[in-house]
Amino acid sequence: MKLLYFAWLRERIGVPEEERDLPASVTTAHELIDYLSAQGSAYQAAFADRELIKVAIDQEHAALTASVVGAHEVAFFPPVTGG
């Protein structure tokens, strides 16, 4: 699965994107965050405040409870501030 990070999530994690093979136990965005948070202190810091984390699954906004099973691309980012 392709994972993307934007804004301060990208800065804290240190990479804009990465490819990861996920364990079958990871089915929702929440579980994906749990899994990534266990991948080191950078991830832990990035995902510490889950209230500030938004997710897009295959380039569509989604809830953290949404399924990521079969997704090609999952992106994490803070609330958007364009316009």
Partner: protein, 153 residues
């Protein structure tokens, strides 16, 4: 039409592209967003500071903006519309975003432009970072933007 680009835009040029050769458009509304100097309340303004960098999610941005635009055309009788959103590094006074709506009647053009801006503010994947005298800081989202978008749903 949707464009996501680093380059600046010219308002008249974009309006002319939409209206040229047509005589069924009675109303064109434009919204131009500009970079405000976020330090302009400081006692000593620092002219070398105040830059803003806009990061976005290529691919998703265009997709979201096209969805937002399609939704506006579903809700109002629009003759044409255009959304331009810039990314990259911008200075105070620079243009960030343009929303254009054209319709036979003014009410539709006004409402659609407001709708597009409210939705864009909460759905288009852009993030602003400000560079000030104390370093860089990501701009926090505003809850009144969520409230503005909610009123259309």
């Amino acid at each position: 039409m949707v464009r996501v680009e680093e380059d600046d835009f010219d308002l008249s040029t974009e309006v002319k592209k939409i209206t040229d050769g047509r005589t069924d458009i009675g109303a064109v509304v434009s919204f131009t967003g500009l970079v405000r100097d976020f330090q302009n309340n400081a006692d000593t303004p620092k002219p070398d500071q105040g830059q803003m960098t806009l990061e976005h999610y290529p691919g998703m941005t265009e997709k979201q903006l096209e969805q937002i635009e399609a939704e506006a055309h579903k809700r109002w009788p629009l003759s044409a519309s255009l959304i331009i959103h810039r990314f990259g590094t911008l200075n105070p006074g620079d243009q960030i975003v343009l929303v254009l709506t054209a319709s036979p009647h003014r009410q539709a053009a006004f409402e659609a432009a407001m709708f597009l801006m409210d939705w864009l503010k909460t759905k288009a994947p852009f993030w602003k970072k400000e560079t000030g005298p104390e370093g860089e800081a990501w701009v926090a989202a505003k809850s009144d933007d969520d409230a503005a978008a909610d009123k259309w749903s």
